[in-house]
């Protein structure tokens, strides 16, 4: 009689014990991830000026956003930022991976150095880069001055500011993405290199015909995480240009920040966040379906 009951009791006890063990991270996920997502979806339907009472206004924020030229402009800036930083990061990280994949002296050190930008605090990086970009005293323009070139105002020229902050993004993430390509490269069997060499393929031909196709799963991962990351870029831009000069580096995340924490228009900021979420979702789905059709070269 008492045996099964005790077992049931201890079964419940096991569940509770298990729950208690995952509680810390579960609480974290619910409180800091799921709850805010639901809150933002709800908030986007309200006019909420923080100190005033939230007022339900249905889809009016969405209507405003679709007719708001600053939103359109910041989406354009965001797309430009993605278009510069994603190919830049991908190509550079692949080059780094090919370089450090060779058995040359000093490659362990090189790998470590290349990853440091990703490990450093973005705010600190932003500060250091704004010094480097300083038109009068920054190291870039001082170096240019030595060879007789009058360096531009990198961060205060509206035409150069966006490429400049995107360049920092590329520099920041190339080393990190190199790790994935490096892992991918080390999965490419050496026998394939020997086979293609026997067939007389040059190393360039080998790279484009053998290595690159085999890296497609890695490429998919790197591209998707990079696109998402670039769409969400905020911290270095916040430190280096605050969206300026004018609004030439005002990416959508900066506009969201501006609306929420400068104008205290939380409902509108929530609406823009939802729009960004939908855009990233769509772009990711497109990338997935593109690569799903083309990437089936898993090696085993």
């Amino acid at each position: 009689m008492s045996r099964p009951r005790r077992e049931r009791a201890s079964g419940w006890g096991n569940t509770a014990f298990g729950m208690a063990l995952i509680a810390p991270s579960l609480i974290g996920v619910v409180a800091f991830l799921l709850a805010p997502v639901v809150l933002v979806l709800g908030l986007s339907l309200f006019d909420w000026r923080l100190l005033a009472r939230p007022e339900f206004i249905g889809l009016a924020n969405y209507q405003d956003a679709f007719g708001d030229p600053t939103v359109g402009h910041s989406l354009l800036v965001t797309v430009l930022y993605v278009v510069i930083s994603v190919p830049g990061t991908t190509v550079l990280s692949l080059l780094f991976a090919l370089l450090v994949n060779r058995q040359l002296p000093g490659m362990h050190l090189a790998r470590a150095l290349l990853i440091i930008p990703w490990m450093a605090t973005p705010v600190a990086l932003g500060l250091v880069w704004s010094w480097i970009f300083d038109p009068a005293r920054g190291s870039i323009n001082v170096a240019l001055d030595l060879i007789g070139i009058d360096g531009p105002a990198w961060l205060s020229d509206p035409r150069l500011a966006l490429p400049s902050v995107a360049a920092v993004h590329i520099w920041q993430f190339a080393g990190y993405n190199m790790l994935f390509f490096l892992a991918g490269l080390q999965n490419v069997p050496l026998s394939l290199r020997e086979a293609s060499a026997l067939d007389g393929a040059s190393s360039v031909r080998h790279f484009f015909s053998i290595t690159l196709p085999l890296l497609r799963p890695t490429m998919l991962f790197v591209l998707i995480t990079n696109v998402i990351g670039s769409f969400q870029a905020f911290d270095t831009i916040f430190v280096m240009t605050e969206g300026g000069p004018g609004n030439s580096t005002e990416v959508i995340t900066y506009l969201i920040y501006h609306k929420a924490f400068r104008s205290f228009d939380f409902g509108y900021a929530a609406t823009l966040s939802v729009i960004l979420f939908v855009i990233i979702l769509l772009v990711t789905l497109v990338q997935f379906s593109y690569f799903e059709r083309r990437a089936n070269y898993e090696m085993h």
């Binding site: 006890g13 509770a16 000026r49 600053t70 004018g246 501006h258 205290f264």
Partner: protein, 440 residues
Amino acid sequence: MSAPLRRRTFLIGCAGTVLATGAACDRAGGSSDGKVELVYRLWDEQQQVGYTKVFESFTAENPDITVRMELLPYGEYWTKLTTELAARQGPDVFWLTVDAFPDLVGGGVLAPLDEELKAAGIDLASYHPNVVECYSHEGKQYGVPKDLGVVGLLYNADLVEKSGVSVAEDLTWATDGSGSFLDLARALTVDKQGRRADESGFDPKAIEQWGFCSWNHGQTQWMNWAASNGGVVQAEPYGPVSYTSPEVLAGLTFGHDLVFTHHVSPDGTRTNPPSGQATEMFYRGEVAMYPANNALLPYALDEVTFPIGVAAMPAGPQGRTVVINGLAEVVSAATSHPEQAAALVTFLASEKAQRLMGDAGYVIPALEGAGDGYAAYWKAEGVDVQPFLDSAAGATINMPIAAGWTGRLPEIERAANDLYLDARPPADVAAQMEQLANDA
């Protein structure tokens, strides 16, 4: 048998930890012996030094109350303050600008102070009327007048001397470009070949040193041009805001023309907020004359290698009118210690406290006639600040006082950036600014 026990102990332990954390979060500055610690929040690290003395003096008179200062950088000050106040938390007493006052008072997070001021024998008529007016709402006073920031013209005395000119006490400007101010600005603007803007062959596309910095800053720039041209941006607090009246528009246009017609100022690609470098350009000696709130003076002197001179803002067609941006100290409606907080702000309004800050050169006290110590301090430092004091005693205006201004102001500034980029006609920019300022 022992395993379930341990589990229970573990679970109880977890619950205990959660409760303890919750209890620790319950903040209260009071203690059983009647001593109270007030939190006073500010954004200026130089004035923080001055307030250390003020609060020592306060605690000497009120032994049961101590004050802890919380310093936040200006950019984060409003973000943190507003979110805390929305959650009915935050400091007991804090600094406030007129931009933020209407929203905070409308949100019911500020405590009215009329009775406390009356009980302490403080007569608001003794303070600069601009500052008093900024912090009253529907007949009640919410802010204790702290100081007044008044706009004057700082100049790089080295560059002025090098050009062989001098800065007259009564500079003038006019919408057509005549007047001694623009003549002086041209003489101080130099291109890469060393030619001044008032010389033939001057190349406005290759300027190396600008005589003036005309940039998108309402308080120290276009509001002053508009006012000294007879323009009225806002006739009364909480009333409509106008940027399109002919007089105001001509003021905005003058700010634009200094850059694009008269070529005596860098353009918005270098100076537009938020990332522009207008102040830094003055510090670096690239700009000779720079209008500023007097509060900038101690910061500027720390940064520059040249002596700084002070002149009054140029007088316009309708004489000299400058912006006064006075700060107030306010009490949070959510404070757990309303009596002690009231004791603190009434002390801060007293002549003793105002003079402690003024005599040490930190601020021009809002208390009328208490500015002599400020002038004496800066005279000893080699800077004649009398033009600031004279301007404050002359014709002055406030920044707009309007509900929802914290949300509108960033958008208005963003629109005004176009003036300094020559992106579209000033009348278009003004119309958009006006719409942003008034639309529901």
